[in-house]
Symmetry: C2
Subunit: 523 residues, 2 copies
């Protein structure tokens, strides 16, 4: 007992006053597992500029108009990442997150919903590949599915209490990947196969008729107690997450909370707690509604941070803020202003391999490990979260996992190294999404150092951008730098072939579209 008491006191100086409970009562046990809690706060469809926190070198008009005080508060406590990448589409990102595999490898390149059905638009000229439209799973037995091991399963097996709250979107309806509890989550709040929310409004029961039946495949389950209560879905999820955290505290285990908001995905319903304020600023109805979705999400972040403060867990909790793809900029039905400009200074938005579709607002706070109020301008990719989080949880041997493409960015967090150095990041989108726009559909891309190459399967077109000098990707430098184009084309093609990436075929000939490093003119 003395030994334990000593250990407990010794750790107190690092992780807060946790020894106190030892003295109270012999039945109240101190938390013997001192590893940090981890909250991964994942926002849906949030653009790089959908915040008052500037991720660029300059403040933009978006930073002026949106209000995200809690993101600012989190940034003061931790490190902002200005070049954090995800895929351009939700399923691709989330499947990389949970399996650690690059999107070209797991082949869930477009979004998933119904079993054995693709979600692609059709083309008269190209045949799309037979991609994994059933998503990912931890078990085999389902067609068109990538089988991978979940980092959450590993966390759970190591002793973490694991909580899912919000959007899952890992497997199509009726496939084993559809349910967060199949991925190692012990608690599932409102997560299912759907990739969106039918409505945020409790007045419409988040997608259910009065008799309880869903009126949409995107009806969100598990929030029945809030139906008709006037509670916006973002708030309902937050209240449920906090209940789960209260439980986690009782369990005396470190917890992993995946707080995966449906916000700020369409439908852009008005969160009336914030909407009038933005209208009063002179914003249009659509844009005020969008801003209200953002601030509702930000309030949720603040509520979780408040819970940590109140429960004396702030010092032993890592909070990671991330979005799953760029902001929606291609749908005039939902957004006002010129389309494809809503992520300025970035070009395009969700669905695009331009920066507007893949560069995300990211923040990590980790008291006593990550320097507060700092910024990291090195790049990283969504699959890197897998090994990073496992290392944060002091899990060893995860590297044995097959098909792990992610690389831990812990050295960047600790300031001990640059894991982006010499690193190539690859995106593959041999699909046709619903919307069109700059950098959207039938393409693949590679980022390495300052350069980004985008290749279009159907036309053979290649674009080369210097991201450091031209963040807006306005100047195609492919003609000026043929050697760079050739080098990156080779690296991109080699990578895609190595990991089993897919490509479309020409309907006219039945032959596959060339890889980026193959001669297109021979077609």
């Amino acid at each position: 007992m003395n030994k334990h008491l000593f250990l407990s006191v010794a750790l107190t100086s690092i992780s807060g006053n946790m020894a106190q409970s030892y003295a109270q009562d012999k039945y109240v046990s101190d938390r013997s597992d001192k590893r940090p809690n981890i909250i991964l706060f994942m926002v849906d469809d949030m653009g790089w500029q959908d915040t008052s926190l500037p991720f660029w070198t300059e403040r933009t008009k978006y930073n002026e108009v949106y209000e995200t005080p809690n993101m600012e508060r989190l940034a003061q406590r931790g490190m902002m990442f200005t070049q954090a990448y995800a895929c351009s589409i939700s399923s691709a990102t989330r499947c990389s997150l949970i399996t650690g595999a690059n999107n070209a490898r797991h082949r869930v390149t477009n979004w998933t919903l119904e079993k054995d059905k693709t979600t692609d638009m059709k083309s008269e000229t190209v045949q799309l590949p037979d991609w994994n439209y059933n998503g990912v799973s931890q078990v085999s037995g389902t067609a068109n599915t990538f089988v991978g091991k979940s980092f959450v399963e590993i966390l759970k097996q190591s002793g973490y209490h694991t909580i899912h709250c919000g959007k899952a979107h890992w497997g199509a309806i009726d496939t084993p990947g559809e349910n967060p509890t199949h991925w190692g989550f012990e608690v599932n709040i409102a997560g299912h196969a759907g990739g969106g929310i039918a409505t945020y409004l409790s007045e419409r029961n988040y997608g259910h008729n009065a008799d309880g039946t869903p009126f949409s495949l995107q009806a969100v389950p598990g929030l029945e107690q809030y139906w008709g209560s006037g509670t916006f879905a973002t708030e309902a999820l937050t209240l449920e997450a906090i209940k789960a955290l209260d439980k986690a505290k009782e369990y005396n285990q470190p917890f992993f909370l995946y707080m995966a908001h449906y916000a700020i995905h369409i439908p852009i319903d008005k969160d009336m707690r914030f909407y009038p304020k933005y209208l009063a600023k002179g914003m249009t109805e659509k844009e005020a509604a969008y801003a209200s979705l953002i601030e509702g999400m930000d309030k949720s972040l603040g509520d979780l941070m408040d819970w940590l403060d109140k429960n004396d867990e702030t010092n032993n909790t890592i909070v990671i803020f991330m979005s799953d793809n760029g902001g929606l900029a291609s749908e005039p039905h939902w957004r006002d202003g010129t389309i494809h400009t809503q992520n300025y200074p970035l070009n395009s938005g969700k669905g695009s391999l331009y920066e507007g579709g893949i560069r995300e607002p990211m923040i990590v706070s980790w008291p006593n490990v990550v320097q507060p109020n700092t910024k990291c301008d090195k790049y990283l990719m969504i699959e890197d979260f897998y090994p990073t989080i496992l290392e944060m949880a002091q899990v060893k041997n995860y590297k044995k996992a097959k098909n792990l493409d992610g690389k831990s960015f812990l050295p960047m967090l600790k300031g001990t190294g640059d894991t982006s150095k010499g690193r190539a990041i690859v995106w593959n989108f041999p699909n046709i999404w619903g919307n069109k726009g700059p950098g959207i559909n039938l393409n693949c891309a590679i980022r390495k150092d300052e350069w980004k190459l985008v290749y279009y399967y159907e036309t053979g077109k290649k674009e080369l951008f210097n991201i450091y000098q031209d963040i807006g990707e306005k100047q195609d430098l492919s003609v000026s730098y043929p050697k760079v184009v050739k080098r990156l084309s080779k690296e991109l093609g080699s990578y895609l072939r190595k990991v089993g990436g897919q490509r479309p075929s020409f309907k006219s000939t039945g032959r596959p579209c060339p890889w980026p490093d193959e001669d297109f003119t021979l077609q």
Copy 2:
């Protein structure tokens, strides 16, 4: 593909016509994992005679009055076990089941409910041990908890889809063991910390007020959609289990369904689908209600068997029927007739170490492996389910699990061996349950071959029964067979000490009650 097709066809002769789906559609995948589905159908508080299926050599009046046609149907398909043992109390049994550890080792010897609170009655003369009243868990960090590995977790990791339906009762409220999803179950229907059901009646929302708040710690969660619908809880659980099976079928995985009914535990509510029939037979209201609970449970078994038949899964599904302890025979409030006789020919009931408290109705059907319509008169113990089920699922290496006391009874199922030979089974109950009666409270026992020795901690009394000749435990042979008493006392005492069993202490002296092989007169 040819190789797979061949394999599929080759297996078809054993496990049914599963190859058929191969030909239908390239998107419909056959189940590649051919291991058998497993249903463990666990009834609560069901006595050895609470059925029309005779487990004794003679038919009793109970076999005449109760109606369990589906147990009979299952027995025709499989093997009845006439000497299947469990502990005398729910938590003890269920904690042995899930961890594979004997009750003396896991120390959850009485029933659990609230965190850090014992449920024992007090004694003026003995101090009870500091047993594990917080239950069992897969993670450490909670006081008074046994940490063990769940066989369900192992099944899940091996590729089974795992479903919990009904009563859990593995950990006290707010401990990590409370939730089935913490034990490797991917689906949890209505399972929580509670060991009973507030009411089976949907009219009383299974324990919830009209505003949704629970009016009892035994309020059953997760059945909200049946509130007020007139659906008896047994039926609601069955309907939900079948929904989960429909899902499991979609997943193309073998499934493990733990169908753990709240029935036939008190409160003995009237299942009106069957109650009038038993009243018409001339039974009292209480006994007719009890019979209705039994038949409602039996219908559930039949519904699950029907599902297997309809879905062509019968030939590849193992069904195990079991109860968790003897029938309640000590509460005149709930039962009519002379108390302690309701498990005739067995003596006493729930809570007792006499056969009435621990001998269970058990049936196993496994087409093409277990001979239909057979009976096994060898004994086995509840912790044996752990290794047996894992072997059924072809899981290797489970024997590395620490603290595994159970032994696989697969040889008895296959008719290739007798795993009871030379086997000693031990019960420890250094507690005081709510009710009193023959063989209840402050005792321990050992069964070996034909003999059973019961030892009482407070008095030093020893009873020896020849179970083969005296199933009713009416003749204490301890005086006639002193050598057997000495031998079994030694084996019992050694075992209890070896596994860390607990014992009460005398309040007068503060000294522990002697072990069965210590000299009581020296106290």
